[in-house]
Symmetry: C2
Subunit: 349 residues, 2 copies
Amino acid sequence: MVTVAVDGNGADLGPTEVAAGAALAAARGVRVLLFADAREVGQVADGVELIDAPVSIAKAVDPAFAVRSTPEASIVQAAKAVADGRAQALVSGGSTGSALAAGLFNLKRAAGIHRPALALPIPRPNDRPVLILDVGANVSCRPEHLVQFAHMGSAFAQAVLGFDDPRVALLSNGEEPAKGTPELKEVHERLSGDAGVGLKFVGNIEGTQVMEDVADVVVMDGFVGNIALKLIEGVSGRTMVAVKAAAMRSWRAKLGGFLLAPSVQGLREEIDPERTGGAYMLGLRQIGVVAHGRFTRRGFARAIEVAVRGVEEDVIGKTRDALEQAGALRSAPSGNGESPSEHTATVSG
Amino acid sequence: MVTVAVDGNGADLGPTEVAAGAALAAARGVRVLLFADAREVGQVADGVELIDAPVSIAKAVDPAFAVRSTPEASIVQAAKAVADGRAQALVSGGSTGSALAAGLFNLKRAAGIHRPALALPIPRPNDRPVLILDVGANVSCRPEHLVQFAHMGSAFAQAVLGFDDPRVALLSNGEEPAKGTPELKEVHERLSGDAGVGLKFVGNIEGTQVMEDVADVVVMDGFVGNIALKLIEGVSGRTMVAVKAAAMRSWRAKLGGFLLAPSVQGLREEIDPERTGGAYMLGLRQIGVVAHGRFTRRGFARAIEVAVRGVEEDVIGKTRDALEQAGALRSAPSGNGESPSEHTATVSG
C-alpha cells in the first residue's frame, strides 16, 4: 500500500477540506499522513493519520528562506516524511513556491537531473488533457534543461496519464525549426538528434495549437509556462462568463440558457482543473503534487490518487531510463555551481 | 484627406475582398491606393486608385530577402508610396513578416526608436479591448526596447483607441516587482522611475489578468507576445466550439442552443478580431497596419480607417513627445550595430 504525505495547510477551504479529500482517497485504498492543525481538522477517517502541524508557510514571501528556517512547518514535515521513507509521495495544497522549496531541500533532485519542473495537465473539452511543462519552477532555462523536461514530461504522460507514445512539442512563435529564441532553436536541434532518442518529438507548435490535438506534451520555460497556464485559465474562464452573460440578454436567451444549462455544466466539469489533480513536481527523487489552493475535496483526492499512480508506475525510474537512453542525464553528480538555494530563488509563487 | 496605401495581395479571400474593404473606407471619405493584380480586381470604387501590382511575396519564406529582391512586389510598392509621400499610412492584408520588412526598409524607424513593435488590440467581451505589444516583431528584447514599447503602446491607445490615461502593465509570472526575467525586472524598475514619466504604469500583471479590466496596454517581448496572442485565439475559439458542441448533446440542449443563438452571435461579433482592424506597426516614420489574412471586407475597411485615425491624431508625433518627456528616446541617431536586415531576420511570420 502506498503512503502519501499531505500538507493540509494552505488550502483556501481550510484543512478540513483537505482532510475530506484524504478520506476519499483512503476509502479507495491509499494511506495518508496528513500534516495539519489538529484542532482545526478534528476527527479523521480510517486510513488517514493526522500529525499535528499547525504552522503554515503557504503565504511566505520568500519560500526558500521560510522552508529553511521553519522545520516545524507542515509542508517541511510532510516533505521530510517522504525523504525518511515514511511516505512515498508528497501532496501540497498550499503555495507552489513553498512546495517546490520543501521538495528540493528534502526530497532532493533525482540523480542526473539538472532542474525539477512543474508539469500541469490542462483539461481540453472533448479530448484528453495536454501536459505542459515547466509551468513555473524555473524562470529561465538552458537548452539542456528543456531537453530533460521533454523526457520528464513524456515519461510522466506515459506512466501516469496512460498516454501511449506521447507526442512531444516545443511551444514557439512558429512551427518552423528556425522559429524561437536561440535556446529554443538549440533544443529543437538536440531533440531532432540523439537527445531525442525514445521521444516522439513533433517539433514546434504555436499557441493556437496547444488546445488542438497535435501534441500531448508541450515544453517551455517556466516564465512562458506560468504566463501560458494563466492565460488559458483566464481566457477560458472569461469566455464561459461571457456565454453566461449572453444568456441574460433577452427572455429568449434566458430560456435558451436554462435549457442548455445541464450540457454547459457537463462542459464545465470536463474542463475543471480539479479533474487532473494539480501540477506535478518532476525531477525529484520522489513524486510531488501541488494541488491548487482553491480545490475542493474532490481535487485533493485526485491529487493523492495521481501521486499514488506515479509511485506504482515508477515514473521516477522510467524518467531516468528515458534520459539515460537519450544520453541526456546530467554528467556531473552534484553541485557544479548551482545550489538548491540559487535555484529556489527563481521559484515562482 | 488622408491617403492610405493598401497591399491587396495575400488576403485569404483574394484581392477583390480587399478592394471591397477599400470601397467601404472610400465611401466614408478615405483615399486609397490599392496595389494588387488588376486583372483579378477589375473595376474599383470611387476614391480607390488601382495600381497594377500582380507580384505577391506574402508567402515568402525569408521576408527580408524577398522585400529587398522584389521591388515590384505589391507590399514593397505600397510601402514606397508611403515613403514617397503619395500616401500617409500603409495597410497590408498579407503576411506580417513581409509587411514588417517592407515597413522597415521603406518607411524606416522613427528617430529615437530602437525597434518597431507590433501592437494588437484584443477584443474582450463586454469591455473595451486591451492592447498587447509586441506580438511578434522582436523575438528577444532588451530592457530599453520594452521601455519604449510601453510609451509607444500608451501613445497609440490614447491617440487612436481613444483611451484616457491608459494603464500600462508588464506581463510577468507574478504581480510582485521581483517577479520575471532579469530583463523584465529592470524594465519594471525603469518604468517605476524617470523612464515612466507621463505613463500610468501599474506594474506587473499575470496571464489571468490580461482579460480582466486591470490594464489597457500590456507590454511583453515578441516571443511571449506571439505565444500569448495565439493562446488567446486558440482557447477562446476552442471554448466557443465546445459550447456549440454542448448545444448538440440532447434535444433539450439543441432547443436551448437555438434560442440562445442570437445572443451568442452578438458575443461572437464582440470578440471578432475584425472589429479592431488588425495589428499596428508602431515605431516607424508612418503608421502601418497588418490586417489578418482571413479578414473579410469589413476588417480591411476597419484597418484602413484605424490607419487614418493614426494619421489624423498624429500618433507618431505623440509617441515621440512621450518618449522625449520620459528621456527614453534612443540617443545614437542611427546604425550602432543593428541593421534593418539583422532586425528583420527575427521577424515572425
